[in-house]
Amino acid sequence: MMRPGAMRAFMVKEIRHILRDRQTLTILLLLPLAMVVLFGYALRSDVKDVRIAFVDPMPDDATGAIRNRFAGSARFQVVDVVPTVAAVEPLFRRGAADVALVFEPDLAGRLSRGSPAQLLLIGDVSDPNTGTTIQAYASAILADYQRDLSTARSGMRIEMRTRMRYNPTLESVNLFVPGLIALVLTLVSALMTAISLSKEKERGTLEVLLVSPLRPWQIILGKVLPYLLLAFVNVVTALLAAWAVFQVPFRGSLALLLVASMLYSMVSLALGVLVAAITTSQRAAMIGAMAGTMLPNELLSGMIFPIASLPDWLQWVTIVIPARWYIVISRGIMLKGAGIEHLWSEMLVLVAMLAGFLLLAVRSFSSRLD
């Protein structure tokens, strides 16, 4: 039985709830602004298995020795050796390499002549933590090599310069904005729907709604759509704040980012409904939404801690964290200007998650009380 009027009435009612609770609404509207401003910098973190490529235009003893040292390190994993800087580009684009170390031609000759040798570390690093950490490890390996050389010959010097391809100044805020948007969307979508739905349960109004001809999916949709609207406003606010306060660059398609954000919001909304459906009190729903969505989205999404720095088993866990995929997408769009052709697989993961959680939510949201 389709009742478009009933659905519309439901949404109007839900919007009224949102508008009437002025305090919560104010907090929700100011939240993205406050978060963008408050989150200034990131936490240090550990990195391993950095995929490194070498640009070795003229292989000799010296470049061979350095490559071996990298290959022998637990931190690095050598993926390729190419002759030109141009040849590294496809590796980065495919996501096959994280950093590239560029040797000068005739490195061994320069070292033996005692002239200063320069190495360049290029990173495909949108994440400043990872960038600085990788840089530190690479420097340590080179310093080791240099010390060994110096015992044989004095006066040898290797200088390393670093160039980060994306996010060249390594500004934390650039990196954090996508993560913050994810956090705000989780809060508005998952937490607020979970609370609002469980409120109806506690108040007994859900009992009346269930006895009405409304179907569970209509109740869920009516609950969810107004929050989607609020989520949209939040994304725009966060972007505006990031752009106005920190001049965060925006390289890609705004439309694509908004679509991805709404997709992510819907996943969170479905999660919120799921949490509310399986809990019996407002308090349990709130804690459930916090523990089930907020925390993992914050800690296991790569927003604060690079996924690469997590233990193996936890890295596997991150696969089911929606924010992980959303952050890859939003960082890709905002910081690299990536298009749908590079991000379709992550988008697909979100679509699959949406379908899965929605199915679970509708199923656990019984049209009866037991």
Binding site: M1, K13, V208, L210
Partner: protein
């Protein structure tokens, strides 16, 4: 436990409950419950909290599935015909389920839309009720008094012109004036042809129903007209007055033919095991006994048992009671 005068069975009965059972864990919430309600009848389910009234309502409104037995509402099966029933019943759950942050009018408008109708379409049926609260239509439901909330909740349950109305403890927490007005409203709704099933924990409200079923521990103790329920009381009953109630109670409990002694408002109700003896003779014997024990102001008179007396006698020594 059946009742001596169940209303005649009819295929047109808007509500037929047959041997309904429902268990939650260790608790038998409903145990072989059978009732039949006639068209345009005001039918009461009377009993204390935890007696199974809410569970029964939830099964009849298709919110719960019974473990055993069957029930039809408006000829529709409560399990199989869930969606047809939902479109045609009005239901007011135990707590007034209103949105406190929405106004009177917004609440009513919302519940009307949920059922695919509008306040205007439903106006003729809700008018007598809604007119009383309409002056406050812009006030938020959370700021209404108990009596007004109750009327708004009733309007919300009626606005889609249901064919049968289920009201679960609609008068709990509402003052005596509002309660009386509420029962008057139910009577006028019944006069217009609506079938109403209403529950209450208050025995004195049973008199306002056409027929009542007394419920306790998930079982129906009796079903009958309120006036006929008193006749089920098995013993002669007496009202006893005196200023020292504690002494009266103790003395009457120790009396040789005492069946039961309960405080009852300003007096005590004493029942005597001698069913074949003239009540006035019992009364004078009891009076003499009390006077002899020093309660000179004690008055004893023979009285007709009411619903509450019958309820207590049918409860017997039910398990929820503690020896005093």
């Amino acid at each position: 436990m059946g009742s001596p005068s169940t209303a005649p069975s009819s295929v047109d009965s808007p509500l037929i409950v047959d041997g309904l059972g429902k268990r939650f864990g260790d608790v038998q919430a409903l145990d072989d419950v059978s009732i039949e309600v006639q068209p345009a009848e005001l039918f009461g389910l009377v009993g204390p909290d935890g007696g199974g009234k809410t569970t029964l309502f939830r099964i009849l409104t298709t919110l719960l599935i019974p473990d055993s037995g069957s029930a039809t509402v408006l000829g529709l099966d409560v399990v199989r015909d869930m969606w047809e029933i939902r479109a045609r019943v009005g239901y007011m759950p135990g707590q007034f389920s209103l949105y406190p942050d929405l106004s009177v009018e917004e609440n009513l408008g919302f519940f009307a839309s949920v059922f695919g109708t509008s306040i205007e379409e439903g106006r003729s049926i809700i008018a007598p009720i809604y007119e009383q609260i309409e002056p406050f239509r812009d006030r938020r439901a959370g700021a209404l008094s108990g009596g007004m909330k109750q009327k708004l909740a009733l309007s919300c349950a009626l606005v889609h012109r249901p064919d049968i109305l289920f009201l679960d403890e609609p008068t709990t927490g509402v003052d005596a004036v509002s309660r009386r007005e509420f029962w008057d409203l139910l009577h006028s709704l019944k006069e217009s042809g609506l079938t109403i099933v209403v529950s209450t924990p208050y025995m004195d409200e049973a008199d306002r129903c056409d027929r009542v079923a007394l419920m306790q521990h998930g079982r129906i103790l009796a079903t009958d007209r309120p006036a006929a329920i008193g006749a089920l009381f098995p013993h002669p009953l007496f009202g006893v007055r005196g200023h020292d109630r504690v002494a009266l109670i103790r003395t009457l409990r120790e009396a040789p033919h005492s069946a039961s002694v309960f405080p009852f408002g300003g007096e005590l109700h004493y029942s005597d095991t001698r069913t074949d003896m003239d009540p006035s003779q019992i009364a004078s014997e009891v009076r003499q006994l009390l006077h002899a024990k020093g309660m000179e102001d004690a008055e004893v008179r023979s009285i007709e048992p009411g619903i509450e007396d019958t309820f207590m006698s049918l409860m017997g020594t039910a398990s929820s009671t503690v020896p005093a």
